[in-house]
Symmetry: C3
Subunit: 320 residues, 3 copies
C-alpha cells in the first residue's frame, strides 16, 4: 500500500502519523524547520509563504495549547486562520463529520489542522479528500485518540537533534503512561526511523500496552534500572483521570516509583536531557527541581514546536 | 416609506431582508459576486477592498457555520474581523442591546454582521444608526428570528442563475418547514422579484404559514404532485426540535412523505437542480443518494455563498 | 524600591498600575494617544508599529468588552493577536500560572494583556519575566481583582483632559461602589498624580473602603452635597451581585440615593461631564436621561480607550 501521506514522487501531502514516514522525509522536515527558529527571533516574526491561504483549525476535542501553537505558526506564515471549536457547532445539529468537512472545503480551505477523539479521523479525512478529487487540500493531524500526535513527535526529534546531533549513538527512555499516550507512539516511531539504537520504555505494567515489545523497545518496570546510562529522557504526562481509576494506586505512589527526581536523573548520563510534552503535573510525573533544572529542555521544545509546525505547513502548501 | 436598506440614490446601505429589494439591486449583487468566485480559486485568496476596516460579527445566537462564512469573506477582503459571541458577554451584565452596539460603534466599527433570535433586530440596529447620525456604519443581517436570512437567499439565487441562467422560465419548489424558516421567506421574496413565474411551496399543513398563499405561491401538500415538472428544488432543513413536538408524527414518517428521494426527484425535469441550506439531516428531509447525486448543487451553494458575502460587504463598504 | 513598570532610564516597560506612575509618564501616554484617535477616523485604520509582533490576550476572567478593545487596538497596530480564554484551558489540567506563561513565552510572545481575578497577578508575571531574563516581553494589566485597571484609568484621564484641558483647576467626584472597584483605585491615583486639587468620593459607608480618606480624597455619603460644584462626575458600575447581598437594601433604594439623575446633575457646574466605565445599569447607578444627555461623555471614553491602548502598546513595543 502506498503511504497516503506522500505523493507519487515522495513529497509530503498530509501529516497523519510518523509511523511509516521515511527517514529522508523526517530529516527534511527537521532541516526545513531550522531557519524558522530564526523567524521567531526577528523584529517582524512573519514570512509570506502562506499568504492568502485559508487554514482551518478544526478541533473536535478542546485543546487550547495545541490549537494556539498551530494558530501562531499559521499566522507567522501569513495565512488566514479560522478556528472551529466543533464541539459546540453543527455536529450538534446532526451533521456528519464528512458533511462538515465538505462544507469547509467548499468555503475554500487549503489546509485542515484536525484534533479528534477518535483514532484515525485525520486519515479518514485525507482519504475522503482523495476520493472526492480534492488533492490540493492538506491535512495535519493535531492528535487523534490514542493513535498519533505527529507534530509533537517531530518537535521532540528536533529538540533531541539540537542538543545531541547524532541519533545513532543515543539511548532514549520514554517514561510513564505509554498505554494512553498518542505522543509516545509518535515518539517511538520517529526514534526508530531516525536510527536510535536503543529505545526503552519505563512504566508500570498497567500503563504499558501488552504488545509493547513489538514496537522494538526494551521494557523496564523499575525506573532506576531503566534510566541507567540514558542520554535522553522523554517524560509523558499522566492524565488525572487515570489516577482516579483502578490503574494507579495514588499520585503520591506514582511519583515515588515513576516521578522523575534529581536522584533518579543522576542515574542517566551526565549531560542527559529531559523532555516533557506539557502541561506538566509537577510532583506527579516530574519533580519541580528537575522541571526547572539544567537538564530540562521543556521550554525549548515549545519554541522548536512553532518552527516545526511552520516547516510542515510550508512543505504541505508548497507540495499541493 | 423609503426602503431603509437603500440610500436616497438607490445604493445598498444595509442588507436586512430581500423583501422589497428592487430587482436591479438584486441583480447587481449577483453580478458583483461573479468575479469574487475567482478570488477563491487564486493562489493568494485576498483582495484589499476592506483593508483597515473593522467588521464585527455580533452573534446573539450561536451559529458556527454562518459566522465562519462571514469571517472568511471579510478576511479575504482584508478586513480586521472581531468575533463577538454575545450570549456570553455583557448582555449578561444587564446591558441593553443598543448600549452594546453604541459601544462597538465607539470602538470604530465599520460594519456589523448580526445574528439574533428576535425578528427585526438588525432593522432596529440600522434604524438606531440612522437616528444617531452614524450612517457610515453598515448592517448585514445574518439571520433574525423567523424573519429573514438574506445572504442565504442571495447565494441561492446566485446558484440558480449559475445553473439555469434565465429566471423567467423556471418553476421552483420550496419544500419542507416553511413556517419556521427564515430561509424560505428570503428565497420566496427573491424568486418573485427576479421574475420566476411559478413558485411552489410543498409541505404538511402544520409546517406552512396559514397565509402562505398571500406570498404569491402555489401550495401543495402532496410532494409527488408538487415536484412534477419543476426545474429547481429548494429543500429546507427540518429542525430537530420540531420533530419532537406535536407538529410532526416522527422523522421516519416525515421522510416518507416529504423526504427527497431519487424516486420523487424523477418527477422533476431531467436536469433539475437540488439546493439545501445545510446542515443536512440525511434520511430526514433528504436521502443520501440525492444529497450526493448529480442533481445536488449543495456544495457549490457554499462556495457561491462566500463570493456573495464578499460582494455584499464590498458594496456596503463602497457605498458608506 | 524601583518602580517595576519603568526601565532604569524611566521608560515604560509594563503597565501594571497607575499608582506610583510619575506624572511625566502619565502625560506622555496621553500625548502619544492623541494622534491615534485620528487613526480610527481614517479610511484604512491601521499603522504598522507592531507588525509581526505576537500579542497574547490572556484572560483568566471572562470580559468580552475589555478583550475586544485590546484586540482592536493590537490589530490596528498590525500585531498578530492570540486570544486565550484560560478559564477553559490547561490551568484546568493542573498546570500552574507560571508554567502557562512560560509556555506562551516559549511560543514567542512579545506582549501579554492579562485579566485575572487575583490582585497582583500581572505584577507577579512581570516579576517572573524579569527573574527569568525575559525583559523584552511586556505586561499590560487588563484588570486584576480589586486592585487596578490602569488602561481604564488612563482613558478616563484622556477624556477629562480632552474636555477640560487643565487638571489643576478641577473638582472631581467618584461615585458609587469604590470598595469593590479596581477602576476607582486607578482613577483616584491618576487624578492625584495629575494635580487635581480636590477628589471626592461619594457612596454609602458599606461601599467605601474603611481607610478611604488615606487615598487623599474627601468623603461624602450624601450625593447632593458631594456633587455641588464638581466639574467631573465619574460614575462606577454597581455589580449585580452586590445588590443581592447584605451591602445594599435594593437597586431602587440605591438609585434613589446614589443614582445620577438630571436633578442631582444640576448641582454640578453648568458644563460638568459625566463618565461611566460601562457596561451601564440604567436605572440603577445612572438614569437614562443622563446617560443619553448632553453632559455624558461615555461613548467618547470608549473611542479614546482604543487610542490609549494603542499608545500604551506602541510605547511598550518601542521600549522593549
Amino acid at each position: 500500500m502506498l503511504n497516503p501521506q506522500l505523493s507519487a514522487d515522495g513529497r509530503l501531502k498530509h501529516l497523519i502519523t510518523l509511523d511509516g514516514l521515511p527517514r529522508g522525509v523526517l530529516t527534511e522536515i527537521l532541516d526545513i524547520a531550522a531557519p524558522f527558529t530564526e523567524v521567531a527571533a526577528r523584529e517582524v516574526k512573519k514570512v509570506p509563504l502562506l499568504r492568502g491561504k485559508s487554514v482551518f483549525n478544526v478541533f473536535f476535542e478542546n485543546s487550547t495549547r495545541t490549537r494556539t501553537t498551530f494558530e501562531i505558526a499559521a499566522k507567522r506564515l501569513s495565512a488566514d486562520v479560522i478556528n472551529l471549536n466543533v464541539a459546540t457547532s453543527s455536529t450538534n445539529k446532526g451533521e456528519t463529520l464528512l458533511d462538515t468537512v465538505d462544507n469547509l472545503c467548499a468555503m475554500g480551505a487549503d489546509m485542515f489542522v484536525m484534533r479528534h477523539a477518535s483514532s484515525g479521523a485525520p486519515y479518514l479525512l485525507a482519504q475522503h479528500l482523495r476520493n472526492t478529487g480534492r488533492d490540493h487540500i492538506s491535512v495535519v493531524n493535531a492528535g487523534d485518540g490514542r493513535h498519533a500526535h505527529p507534530t509533537q513527535g517531530l518537535l521532540d526529534m528536533y529538540t533531541i537533534r539540537h542538543y545531541k546531533q547524532d541519533f545513532t549513538r543515543l539511548t532514549v527512555a520514554v517514561v510513564g503512561d505509554v498505554l494512553h499516550s498518542r505522543v509516545a507512539r509518535s515518539e517511538i516511531a520517529a526514534l526508530t526511523t531516525l536510527g536510535v539504537p536503543e529505545v526503552r520504555v519505563i512504566g508500570p505494567k498497567t500503563l504499558l500496552p501488552s504488545d509493547v515489545e513489538r514496537m522494538g523497545v526494551r521494557v523496564f518496570h523499575d525506573m532506576n534500572e531503566g534510566l541507567r546510562g540514558v542520554d535522553v529522557i522523554m517524560m509523558l504526562r499522566l492524565q488525572n483521570e487515570r489516577m482516579q481509576g483502578a490503574l494507579l494506586p495514588s499520585s503520591q505512589e506514582y511519583f515515588k516509583f515513576y516521578g522523575l527526581t534529581e536522584e533518579k536523573l543522576a542515574l542517566a548520563t551526565k549531560d542527559a536531557i529531559v523532555l516533557h510534552p506539557g502541561p506538566m503535573n509537577r510532583g506527579v510525573e516530574i519533580d519541580s527541581a528537575v522541571a526547572d533544572g539544567d537538564h530540562a529542555v521543556i521550554l525549548p521544545q515549545v519554541t522548536f514546536g512553532i518552527a516545526v509546525r511552520m516547516a510542515v505547513m510550508s512543505m504541505l502548501a508548497a507540495g499541493n
